[in-house]
Subunit: 157 residues, 2 copies
Amino acid sequence: MTTTGDTDDARVDEILSRLKGSSGRLTTGRRAIVQALLAAGDHHLNADELAAAVQAQHPHIHLSTVYRTLDALEVAGVLDRMALGTGGAVYHFTDHVHHHLVCKDCGAVVDIPPDLVSSLTGELQRRFGYDLDQARLAVSGRCERCRAALPTTSTSR
Amino acid sequence: MTTTGDTDDARVDEILSRLKGSSGRLTTGRRAIVQALLAAGDHHLNADELAAAVQAQHPHIHLSTVYRTLDALEVAGVLDRMALGTGGAVYHFTDHVHHHLVCKDCGAVVDIPPDLVSSLTGELQRRFGYDLDQARLAVSGRCERCRAALPTTSTSR
DNA sequence: GTCATTGCAAATGGTTTGCATTGTA
DNA sequence: TACAATGCAAACCATTTGCAATGAC
């Protein structure tokens, strides 16, 4: 099932052109990487998984190319990189703002809708002068499942 | 200048005894590591920096011992480990709850007082069932200095 | 004496880099 | 043709692990 479409194609072109900005070049590798990134949608892909997805169609594309393209996209302001504990950094499109609730035990990630945190980021921005328009927030706690799986430390609390 | 004191000594003993809980043993290495951790106060030390601090007095204490002790302290519930972007994870005492505002450019870290985030964590706890009593929050944005240092990309976006 | 802890070296996982080659512009 | 991007291998950083030696109990 091809998840592609005209909309995505247009988006791919737009992103690639932003990469072109400072005398960059459009290669099949970069196109494939951006396509895979878009196809992943809301999934949290790390560089390895992205490379695997790309290599399904273009086996010769090297992991280091993926890293270099991700870097370029980050510099171009297209992507945000974020380290969510273990398993490698994950990447998001800068225009798709959301935040993360991460289980410190199993690593499960839940997306937090931005409106829940906007008052906090506003306050932080006011207090500390940080630019948080594109802020990424990671909250680490323990998910329900892992909480239940805990040895009976129940009395503590 | 010994930053130590009776208070700290008592705290060191208390922490070491928590490590002893399940047939653990008290070694000079562990004591030195816990002391260094307490002496660091609010600083955000990573394993490397902690090892350096310890080795100033006990040169033979190996980095891997530091890692193993930090692990043990985490398991014992004394410490929380947290990855703040680059440069290795940092550790905090679990009873000293605070959060972090991290500059995505220069890595500068500002501590966020817990009361600013409590309403958010409460809401997240309610919505997603995560246990956030000991939550750690990392907000990544751009600090004032880096913001000023940015090339005039102001029109883009 | 037992066995947890340590030192050390080597392995690991994620990421970056140097360099010769490829391929876009 | 010129030079950005790539493949590849090697380097790199933070962290973990196997194993024999040490030292706390």
